[in-house]
Amino acid sequence: MAVSFTNAWKVNVEETIQNAVKNEFTGSVPIFRTPNFKFRGNNFMTISALDSFSNNSMYSVIPNTFNLQLTYYHYDSKRNDLSVKKFFKQISRLEEVFYSLLGVSPSYSFTVQSINYEDDDEMEGFRKAIFNVQVSNIR
């Protein structure tokens, strides 16, 4: 008989994040899981898995920690104080959405370890915020 399992990366981690972002931004910030990056508009996010490891447990559960990178792309043609304000407003809103996931389940932990800000090298005018995120989950 085949083993019963959950696709943890997809279901427990990435789709949970996607659903939270979609729920909050209702389509204004599309979020993609994709191995091949491409630009998708003026405002979008990508999810890239980095690594995961199992934590030790003596119980019949699988506790995992997942590290992933979420990159938010924001086209800023105006480059003034107000457009900078809008960029950081989106960042704070995303951060708040991610931390709100802590309410999903006691066994679910989410931390934004860091966010790096930079301009995109490839496409002029795009600002990037790279979220380094850690998710812990028991299944």
């Binding site: 789709e15 709100s100 309410g103 999903v104």
Partner: protein, 170 residues
């Protein structure tokens, strides 16, 4: 229902820093927010964060460290000590303002350390210009109001306060 949130980086960190510097320099040093240099006069100061990192997670709040970078530009055709002295003077004045405003007053930020300064920075594509970078680490604690946003109804569905469902696929 959309969540409530603060624009932390902009409203709680960048604006207070800029306002303190503006009050001191008045119109003598234009200050702007951007990740790239703008040619807006003989002297200018550009403020932009490099990154933020989590320092501590608490039950209903988190403390982040914001690495704020200020870049001072002085356009000059002079290649002598006078030009250098002008830059040193302005940068020292900026440093003094930062040291004298280590906490945000009504806004609960404070510096995690002393500002660090790098003089005579080379920035590509810029000529006849003197550049100095001032980095200041700023701590800020944000309190969550939204941890109780989801109310469990069963293993798969979470109900928002307005009665609509949030679905976690399983």
């Amino acid at each position: 229902m959309a969540i409530s949130y603060n624009n932390i980086t902009y409203d709680k960190i960048m604006i207070p820093l800029r306002d303190k510097l503006r009050t001191e320099f008045k119109g003598a040093l234009p200050i702007y927010f951007d990740s790239q240099f703008k040619d807006i006069g003989t002297k200018s100061l550009r403020i932009f964060p490099n990154s933020q990192s989590l320092q501590e997670r608490r039950t209903k709040s988190y403390i982040n460290l914001y690495d704020m970078e200020m870049t001072y530009y002085l356009r000059t055709n002079r290649d002598d000590e006078k030009a250098l002295d002008q830059m040193y003077k302005d940068v020292t004045r900026i440093e003094t303002i930062l040291l004298e405003n280590r906490n945000g007053g009504s806004i609960p930020y404070f510096y995690a350390g002393q500002p660090t300064i790098e003089h005579n920075v080379e920035e590509t594509d810029l000529s006849n210009i003197l550049v100095a970078k001032i980095n200041v680490p700023v701590l800020y604690e944000e309190v969550h109001q939204t941890f109780g946003r989801f109310i469990t109804s069963n293993d798969k569905f979470f109900v928002l306060s307005n009665g609509s469902f949030y679905i976690v696929e399983n």
